[in-house]
């Protein structure tokens, strides 16, 4: 079987789903089912701000692994403390580590991110860092012991797809841990491309939760990730400048 393995844990699905932006919990439940995902991200906020009702009940019904994030943190200190609070709340040492450098682009801050990753690995966390598409930063994150690296395709929620496929391919070359394409996916072909570039999985939220029909899009993403993975394993044909006949010329009649 072709399974995704992160920190020794096996998954059939190579699609991780973010829950942000869902219009309702009903839609979320359908999207989780439609996507076939086994890993779903969640966050922590002040009790007064919680509007999502019995989110946890829904997620428990879906029987998925919860992956808390540190969204909104801008320093290593905040991110580390948020990760520890999430460990308390969700009883998991897995964390999607986000340390943002800018509120307009929500791009990660490499220095703070590396610092936080190092601290959390030392504290026994299974760290999945959201990073930019720089191969050097990705390799350093792997070097400090992250369980995977999660480079972006483009800014969170932008739907701009994979802006620099070359870098994603270079990241795939430069680390041995799983590479999860995180952020920027806009539609199915973006997710397929990520897998064709050698990514082990794709994490997306907005592309599904804010689509006109989230349930339909969740199925699209399930198939796209499967398609891209199968194509990667099948070995695509080389690109050719000119054409190559797909019907033999031999035996062509003279009419």
């Amino acid at each position: 079987m072709d399974q995704l393995i992160i920190a020794g844990e096996k998954f059939e699905s190579r699609l991780l789903l973010g829950t942000g932006g869902v219009p309702s919990l009903e839609v979320l439940e359908k999207a989780i089912a439609g996507s076939g995902t086994q890993i779903v991200t969640v966050a922590l906020r002040r009790v007064e701000a919680s509007t999502s009702g019995p989110l946890i009940e829904v997620l428990e019904r879906c029987n998925v692994r919860l992956l808390p994030n540190t969204a909104g943190c801008m320093t290593a200190r905040e991110a580390v403390l948020t990760a520890k609070l999430a460990r308390e709340a969700f009883e998991t040492s897995w964390v999607k580590l986000e340390v943002i450098g800018d509120e307009q682009t929500l791009l990660p801050d490499p220095v703070e991110l590396l610092d936080a990753a190092e601290q959390l690995v030392a504290d026994g966390f299974t760290v999945l860092p959201y990073t930019n598409d720089d191969p050097i930063t990705a390799r350093r994150l792997a070097d400090v012991g992250c369980a995977a690296v999660m480079p972006l395709g483009s800014p969170i929620g932008s739907g701009l797809g994979i802006r620099n496929p070359h870098n994603i391919a270079l990241i795939r070359e430069s680390v041995t841990v799983p590479v999860v394409l995180d952020a920027g996916i806009g539609t199915a072909s973006d997710a397929a491309l990520a897998m064709e570039l050698g990514c082990d999985a794709v994490l997306l939220a907005t592309a599904v939760t804010r689509a006109r029909d989230p349930e339909l899009m969740s199925a699209a993403m399930r198939d796209a990730v499967s398609a891209g993975r199968l194509a990667y394993r099948a070995g695509r044909i080389p690109r050719r400048w000119h054409a190559r006949a797909s019907t033999q010329l031999a035996g062509l009649p003279e009419l």
Binding site: G20, V42, A43, L44, S52, A89
Partner: protein, 66 residues
């Protein structure tokens, strides 16, 4: 006793513990996490942790997130 909870001032009775505060703030207590003055207060220590004048407390709960 004046403390700060989730960014706003709050007045709580002398001797209240973190556990008392959590109960006062949220019915559902599963999946709740508490930070006090920049440190996590593990669930197991809620009852045994008294609040003190000027404490900065964050009581957090799950939300959907990307």
């Amino acid at each position: 006793m004046k403390i700060n909870v989730n960014g706003s001032g709050a007045d709580v009775a002398e001797g209240w513990s973190v556990g008392d505060l959590v109960r006062a703030r949220t019915g559902e207590q599963r999946r709740v996490a508490v930070a006090r003055n920049g440190e996590v207060v593990p669930r197991g220590e809620w009852e045994g942790t008294p609040l003190a004048e000027g404490d900065l407390v964050e009581v957090l709960t799950p939300v959907a997130g990307g």
